[in-house]
């Protein structure tokens, strides 16, 4: 796909799909058993080839009700009464089992999601295991997790957690949600996204292998209706949602007037701010990693590049050269940098928003790039000449699309960076330490990456300001969201 003649071509290095142990059909996981859902089944496809991967049980209200009851029984029964040190061992077991089956999970994730194998193998799966390891250690230390409460009461689990997760990091999001919930002593009803249910169902199998008591974790594949039934079920005590701001608002409205606890991880439109003294090569790598990682299907993606005017041309030249070396194609090829867009629907959204960029007068550029004939693909794209009023500068695109704006002074950078109803993440690139701290203090965002981007760690709280949601995941803060303290 490179424009300038490449120095050398890489021979294909495909990972074997046999490792995924793909089955023709998958059931829902309720009460410790796999079974067919009451809603028939739906097909999940490989977005890189449009090939049907498997039939998956579709679930409806009756299944949600069964799952919630099963979770309630488990909470009232063995799991709720189990001492933290015992609960910890189960969470540790799940973490280990993920590590043992890491290759299988990575391949399965790339098949179902379209993300490059190097990312599922090196990021998604290891981080998922790390989250379970981190929170497993909290299970018997809950009284240290929350700033001392005045009444001296020990923190307690909330009960049954309904967890609805997105398609961009299917396994990782499942681990983010389950790990703190289980460590705190809650039981869970997890609904993976419609287009990427497979890794969560293998995770359910791992829960079986770990001998997790039946009902502690339930997994319900399905679409929006299933998610709505989960969050509106009267016996759910806690709702944790990661997804779009639009759906987050719907969920907040549905939870109004109830005593359900709520945490939301929603959209973003992060500013990645590059000053004239930034280390240029590192900044370029950070910009690429910031917005093209996972095909830009990242809520905290650095999709608005704010570059100091004096170095804009130089930086964009370097960025274009770098983008020309990215390899787009087969997600299972270990050389692939950019995989497939997760679904036809998502591809249509990206196309609509980028078309608005053209229509509103921004200039589009992509490296010369051959897209495969089948599957859902979008080339890495850069828009220059973007103004703050353009849709591509305001709306989350959730694809490999970068909008470039310029600024002259640090104050202007702060103002432009904060000019958004979102506030999930931000990036700063400068060699000047005092400026980093000054900027970091002023940016209204839950995560600020300075001279780096898209770093995650289970010990590190992650979450948004403003319409990017509330609550944090990761660290002590992530545990607090599952405790009544």
């Amino acid at each position: 796909m490179s424009s300038t003649p490449p120095v050398w071509e890489y021979a294909p290095a495909p990972e074997s799909r046999e490792i995924a142990r793909l089955r023709s059909s998958y059931g829902m996981f309720v009460g410790g058993e796999f079974s067919a859902g009451s809603g028939g089944s739906f097909k999940t496809v490989n977005p890189a080839t449009e090939e049907v991967l498997a039939e998956v049980a579709d679930t409806g209200e009756a299944d949600v009700d069964r799952a919630v009851r099963s979770a309630r029984r488990a909470f009232d029964g063995s799991w709720g009464r189990m001492p933290g040190r015992e609960r910890a061992k189960y969470v540790f077991r799940i973490a280990r089992l993920i590590q043992e089956r890491s290759r299988e999970l990575a391949v399965l994730e790339s098949l179902d999601n379209g993300k490059p194998i190097k990312e599922s193998r090196d990021v998604d799966v290891p981080l998922a295991a790390a989250h379970l390891f981190y929170y497993a250690g909290w299970a018997d230390k809950l009284e240290y997790a929350v700033p001392a409460s005045a009444n001296g009461r020990r923190p307690r689990p909330l009960g049954v957690a309904g967890q609805v997760i997105p398609w961009n990091f299917p396994l990782l999001m499942a681990a983010w949600k389950l790990a703190p919930a289980l460590a705190a002593g809650n039981t869970c009803v997890l609904k993976p996204a419609e287009t990427t249910p497979l890794s969560a169902l293998v995770l359910a199998e791992i829960c079986q292998q770990a001998d997790l008591p039946p009902g502690v974790v339930n997994v319900l594949p399905g679409a929006g209706g299933t998610g709505r039934a989960v969050v509106s079920h009267p016996q759910i005590d806690k709702i944790a949602f990661t997804g779009s701001t639009e759906v987050g608002k719907e969920i907040a409205r549905a939870a109004a007037g109830t005593d359900k606890r709520l945490t939301l991880e929603l959209g973003g439109k992060a500013a990645n701010v590059v000053f004239d003294d930034a280390p240029l090569d590192q900044a370029v790598e950070g910009i690429v990693n910031g917005v093209y990682f996972n095909q830009g299907h990242v809520c905290c993606a650095g999709s608005r590049l704010l570059v100091q005017e004096s170095i804009a041309d130089e930086l964009l030249g370097a960025l274009r050269r770098r983008l020309a070396t990215l390899r787009l194609g087969d997600p299972l090829d270990k050389n692939t940098d950019i995989g497939a867009i997760n679904s036809a629907e998502q591809l249509a959204k990206i196309r609509e928003l980028t078309a608005s960029g053209d229509a509103e007068g921004a200039s589009r550029w992509s490296p010369p790039c051959t897209l495969p004939d089948r599957g859902f693909w979008f080339p890495p794209t850069v828009f220059t000449g973007v103004s703050q009023a353009h849709r591509i500068a305001r709306e989350e695109i959730f694809g490999p699309v970068l909008s470039v704006l310029t600024f002259r002074t640090p104050d202007e950078a702060v103002q432009k960076a904060n000019n958004t109803p979102y506030g999930l993440s931000a990036g700063i690139w400068t060699e000047k330490g005092s400026r980093i701290l000054w900027m970091a203090q002023r940016l209204r965002a839950g995560v600020v990456w300075a001279n780096t981007f898209n770093r995650f760690d289970p010990t590190s709280p992650f979450g948004g300001y403003q319409e990017s949601g509330f609550g944090r995941e990761g660290g002590r803060h992530g545990l607090e969201a599952y405790l009544d303290a």
């Binding site: 907040a252 007037g257 944090r472």
Partner: protein, 294 residues
Amino acid sequence: MPERVTASRAPVRKTYKLYIGGAFPRSESARSYVVDSARGGFLANAAQASRKDARDAVVAARKAFGKWSQATAYNRGQVLYRIAEMLEGRRAEFIDAVVAGEGVSARTARSTVDRAIDRWVWYAGWTDKIAQVFGGTNPVAGPYFDFSVPEPTGVVAVVAPQRSSLLGLVSVVAPVVASGNTTVVVASERRPLPAIALAEVLATSDLPGGVINLLTGITTELAPWLASHMDVNAIDLTGADPKQSTDLERRSADNIKRVLRAPAGGEPSWTGDPGVSRLGAFLETKTVWHPMGI
């Protein structure tokens, strides 16, 4: 305030107004409503704030947010302590206001006012401890320095408790501003006079105008505008009408407001140890990463 009319002198009565942006305007709507004492007698006409007044108050709070949130925690603590000093100096006036409004004995009112003053002192001492208790460094697996700091959520609307007009009010307002938020407060509808007296204390303390804005009026009329206001970041529904609270929460979803629901079981006594949950309710956690290396 009730005052004794003597044969020799008619006291100068007070006109009760709103407190917005450090100034004391009447309601732009020119409306007022009758405030009765706990025994049912006429106490005062309070300004009945309108939607426009609420919006003006939000504008004032937003304008004040930048400086207040960026002020040093030490400085915020000094300002909050100064409020306690001013309260202490007007202790007698507040005791009278609580007696008149809440119908309690002078003895009870005295202890209520003392607690309210002590509560300001408690929160004044919190400002420079919040970051250490709620934040910290994170031991990430990699060559990065990674730390989390709590920051204020922004402009917080507060529907103040209806019964406890002074201690309750102080208990909900002080934690909001201690952490660097600015606020628009809807005072107890039937017992607004201590809030107005508090506004006079705030105006003569070192608190910058706009950090705390106090509205008097009809709670069910004002709360929906604040709940659906797109420039309000959080709302405390402690004193909201239970019949209205579902609607207020629903409106709050329009911009993903942080909502502190009314305590289950109704208004608490406020006399107990406040703990840190109210401080935590209006904090965001910001995590900053930086590579480490040589």
